[in-house]
């Protein structure tokens, strides 16, 4: 049973526009959520995180929103740049700061010039 779901396998966005990646989870015990970015033939790289006591966390062009009641989080990238083209993984854990993570299947984001 998949506890973290990214229902969109791929997303295509024009350069300069906003990219919105979505993630849903089923485990109500999750308290900590992260987004990782992965380029081909490389490992995932940490992007941004949020704990369940917050509903928003921002870092430069990246903002993560958390809706606990809906068990949903999203990553907003604005403005989108060609270098943002990658696979984005949503991840979660039951303990804030924990490193035993449950990942989603990933969403491939393509930024078109």
């Amino acid at each position: 049973d998949q506890q973290v779901k990214q229902n969109s396998p791929s997303l295509s966005v024009q350069e300069g526009r906003i990219s919105i990646l979505n993630c849903d989870y089923t485990n109500s015990m999750f308290d900590y959520f992260l987004w990782y970015k992965k380029y081909p033939a490389e490992g995932p790289t940490f992007l941004i995180s949020i704990s369940s006591i917050k509903d928003k966390n921002e870092d430069g062009r990246f903002t993560v929103f958390l809706n606990k009641s809906a068990k949903h989080l999203s990553l907003h990238i604005v403005p989108s740049q060609p270098g943002d083209s990658a696979v984005y993984f949503c991840a979660a854990s039951e303990i804030v700061g924990a490193q035993k993570l449950v990942f989603g299947q990933g969403t491939r984001l393509t930024i078109n010039p």
Binding site: G43, G97, Q99, L101
Partner: protein
């Protein structure tokens, strides 16, 4: 600072053979993790070392998988005998401590079992 290094980058073996994957974490990182991504699906936790001790191996799929971290430095993950469903990308990650510090992932080993 050198990143997490994994070797080999690719391995193709036949069903029933043995393969050993190696991970060199970032120097000074006591926490070492193995994760696996099978067939383009989600990345799944396999196990966690703190120094040379296995802290959590709840994600290991079965007893054909053996992970070691002798001396608390590099780690190996042996698959013996390999089965077709073991194909995937095996990622190693390390962290300074077991909480709040981000995981640094290696580039992974792509294992193909034919």
């Amino acid at each position: 600072e050198a990143g997490v290094t994994q070797f080999p980058s690719h391995s193709v073996i036949e069903k029933g053979q043995t393969v050993t994957l190696r991970c060199d974490p970032i120097s000074g990182h006591d926490n070492l993790y193995w994760y696996r991504r099978v067939m383009g699906k989600e990345i799944k936790f396999l196990l966690h070392f703190v120094k040379e001790s296995k802290q959590d191996e709840s994600g290991m799929p079965n007893n054909r998988f053996l992970a070691e971290r002798t001396g608390g430095t590099y780690s190996t993950l042996k698959v013996q005998p390999a089965e077709l469903e073991d194909s995937g990308v095996y990622f190693c990650a390390s962290a300074v401590n077991g909480h709040s510090s981000p995981l640094h992932f290696g580039n992974g080993t792509r294992l193909t079992v034919t």
